[in-house]
């Protein structure tokens, strides 16, 4: 049996002088699985992502990526094997869309032709025809389009692991639903190991194979969406109850 894509073993992390952000936190993401982490703001979700690509290191315990402790990985190599999509996207404003997607390939010393071809392929994949979009600029795009570029950029060198930090948080509900469908379609093809962070249980149900609920730096529940939806745990129920309810006609 292959090693899990990502594994947290009793990870504690805290910022100096504050109570721990994560307290003996354990989690396993199997290869090819989409795990959604849900919790209110400040629950430690973003910290979890940053521990995976070693933007942060644990105080105790260990984070393993593909079976190797992140502290043993060369950080640059690790980050290039882990795609990262931010809520703010963070596209480089001085580069075209095509150049933005081709950043990591170019860091990996691909030839310009190969990098451009890869960027075009990915833009087509995320539903932005490359003919039309590759030469445009980040400030010419809508929020949803920028978010698609962010996903394309994270996938550029075909990393086995993808981290998504509230990627669809700032979008209107329709665009959001559209991107959810798009994400599922892409994931069915690529089978990445994904951690997606959200504060919205509905989004988690729409995207994830398993849903984890984070509260006060601990994983209070982690299971299939159906099981989570039926949970009687008060901390899980609070998040479920916050989901919008469609009134009956």
């Amino acid at each position: 049996m292959p090693a899990p894509a990502i594994e947290f073993r009793d990870v504690t992390f805290h910022r100096p002088g504050r109570s721990p952000v994560l307290d003996r936190f354990s989690l396993t993401v199997e290869s090819g699985e989409v795990l959604a982490l849900v919790g209110r703001s400040g629950a430690g979700k973003t910290t979890i992502l940053k521990l995976v690509n070693r933007l942060l290191s644990p105080d105790s315990g260990a984070v393993l990526v593909e079976g190797r402790d992140t502290r043993e990985w060369e950080p640059i190599r690790l980050r290039r094997r882990v795609g990262y999509v931010l809520q703010e996207v963070g596209l480089f404003p001085h580069m075209t869309i095509g150049a933005n997607v081709a950043v990591v390939p170019r860091l990996e010393r691909w030839t310009p032709d190969r990098a451009a071809a890869r960027a075009a392929e990915l833009l087509d994949l995320v539903g932005l025809p490359s003919q039309q979009f590759a030469t445009r600029w980040p400030d010419e795009l809508s929020g949803g389009q920028r978010q698609r570029v962010g996903v394309a950029r994270a996938l550029a060198v075909d990393p086995p692991v993808l981290l998504m930090d509230e990627p669809f948080g700032a979008l209107d509900p329709l665009t959001r639903a559209e991107l959810h469908a798009e994400f599922r379609r892409i994931q069915d093809r690529l089978r990445k190991s994904v951690i997606i962070v959200s504060h919205d249980m509905g989004e988690a149900f729409a995207l994830a194979d398993r849903v984890g609920v984070v509260e006060s730096g601990q994983l209070v529940a982690c299971d299939r969406p159906g099981t989570i939806a039926a949970s009687r745990d008060a901390r899980v129920r609070r998040l479920l109850d916050a989901m919008p309810v469609v009134p009956r006609a």
Binding site: I76, Y84, E88, G90, F92, H94, A99, V103, V104
Partner: protein, 510 residues
């Protein structure tokens, strides 16, 4: 206004040369300041604790007036002394601060999510800097370079005081001649240059911050690089001075420029050695320092000035004794005072030519008897100096009915000519003496200390090139006060080219 254009047309090749030097100074200084300031700014932006003291130091440097800065640097080895090198050091010091400041601001202004995206994508700090941070901070950095360049255009005019050349030469020359036309001849192109530099860098900055058009950006950068290279090449060509061996210096007033030119042309003619002209240095002390450090090989000094200003000895009225004393003092520090050129640039008691001829006035004794009926006008300096008015009145028994009127030295010539006063104390070699038909009365009691003009040279240079000594000695005793006045008049009043004035005079000696 038309006088100004005539001046420019008459001096067009000189103007082009000075403009070239000016641009070269500013371009080289700004480039070097960017080469220092951008890395410093990057460094400071990453270590906020160091940023504050660094900025404070740079601000202190910035507040030192540039003339004082040139003065501080004079005795410093390697970077100091006179000439373009020292000027560059000062301009670079001034340019670093705005560039550091805008580099820090540019880097800090980058959105945190953009930087985080770069790190998370696996960029090394170096890749992040080169591919993301510097391109995004570039418009801000160019803004700093713009400030540095505009300040540089201004400071470079002051650099003429230490012989760095540039348009400041006209400004200094004009100030010493009290000739607005010449001042404007340097000030207007300098101001225009500042506007052009400001405008073109502002254009570049705008092009760069228009972030969507990468191609326009690349075009702008290429255009800027090509333009900079062209400007550099052409100004370098215009500014090229002979890379010669003998460097002739001079102070920054008309007579000194003429004398410097006379020395230079004489050496060129008689020895065939190439001559580098480092004229317009800002005063005796700067010339002396330049001679000591070997930045110049020879310049013309006045014996009385050397004794008092350079060697801090009391004045004496015996011309021979002063010359010998100064020659010995120079000899002790490896410098050689050559024989006097012939004229004495001392104070001159002047009256109108018409009065002198009507009353047969030749000496100060002649006029002393008439003083109860005369009005005197003196410059501020003459009234206060130990070798000035009080001693003069005592020596000759002058009794004016009213205390002398104190006025600007240059104005006093005109006041005398127009009859507002009847007697003044001027410079013996002032061109206006000739221009306004004034007569110098002989100091028959030898009250005034001697200010005999004589070339002083590095002994080492004279040893290596004995022909230089022979050439300069050929001028000894050949330049009378009348000759000097005529040449000063030609330069100051007739605005004739100084090289041409010197050439004609040397022709006349043959």
């Amino acid at each position: 206004m038309s006088a100004l254009f005539r001046f420019w047309v008459a001096h067009r090749s000189e103007l082009a040369g000075l403009l070239g030097q000016h641009v070269l100074l500013v371009v080289v200084a700004t480039t070097a300041a960017a080469a220092i300031g951008v890395p410093l700014g990057i460094f400071a932006a990453r270590r906020p604790r160091l940023a504050a003291p660094l900025m404070a130091t740079a601000s202190v440097v910035q507040t030192v007036p540039s003339l004082a800065m040139f003065g501080f640097l004079l005795p410093v080895p390697l970077v100091g002394g006179v000439g373009a090198r020292a000027a560059l050091v000062v301009l670079i010091l001034y340019g670093v601060l705005p560039i550091v400041r805008t580099t820090i601001a540019g880097l800090r202004g980058i959105d945190a999510s953009i930087r985080e995206a770069g790190v998370a994508m696996g960029m090394t700090p170096r890749e992040l800097l080169r591919q993301v941070e510097l391109p995004l901070a570039l418009p801000s950095i160019v803004a700093g370079m713009r400030v540095a360049a505009v300040v540089g255009v201004g400071s470079a005019t002051i650099a003429a005081a230490i012989g760095a050349g540039g348009l400041g030469e006209y400004i200094y020359r004009g100030l010493s001649m009290v000739d607005t036309t010449v001042i404007l001849a340097g000030a207007i192109p300098a101001a225009a240059l500042a506007l052009v530099v400001d405008g073109s860098l502002l254009w570049l900055e705008r092009q760069l911050s228009a972030r969507r058009r990468s191609r326009a950006r690349r075009t702008a950068l290429t255009a800027a690089a090509v333009a900079a290279a062209l400007v550099l090449w052409s100004s370098g060509a215009a500014a090229r001075r002979s890379g010669g061996k003998i460097v002739v210096g001079s102070k920054n007033f008309t007579e000194q420029l003429v004398l410097g030119e006379l020395l230079a042309q004489t050496i060129e003619r008689e020895t065939g050695l190439p001559v580098d002209r480092r004229l317009n240095l800002g005063g005796s002390i700067i010339c002396d320092r330049a001679l000591l450090t070997g930045d110049i090989d020879v310049y013309v000094e006045y014996t009385g000035t050397a004794l008092t200003a350079v060697f801090h000895q009391p004045v004496s009225t015996d011309a021979g004794a002063v010359f010998d004393a100064v020659r010995d003092l120079y000899a002790r520090s490896g410098r050689t005072l050559l024989p006097p050129l012939g004229f004495n640039n001392t104070f001159a008691i002047l009256v109108r030519g018409a009065d002198a001829r009507a009353r047969g006035l030749k000496t100060i004794d002649d006029v002393a008897a008439e003083t109860p009926r005369l009005r005197a006008g003196f410059g501020y300096e003459f009234v206060g100096r130990p070798d000035g008015y009080p001693g003069l009145a005592q020596t000759y028994g002058l009794r004016f009915p009213a205390p002398p009127r104190v006025m600007d030295l240059t104005l006093s010539y005109r006041a005398l000519a127009s009859g507002q006063v009847d007697l003044i104390a001027g410079d013996a070699t002032a061109g206006l003496i000739k221009g306004l038909d004034l007569v110098q009365l002989e100091d028959n009691r030898h009250y005034f200390p001697p200010y005999d003009a004589a070339a002083v040279a590095r002994a080492e240079t004279l040893l290596r090139y004995p022909s230089v000594r022979t050439a300069i000695e050929g001028l000894s005793g050949r330049i009378s006060a009348a000759d000097m006045r005529a040449m000063n008049y030609a330069a100051d009043a007739e605005h004739r080219d100084i090289r041409e004035i010197a050439r004609q005079f040397l022709e006349s000696l043959r």
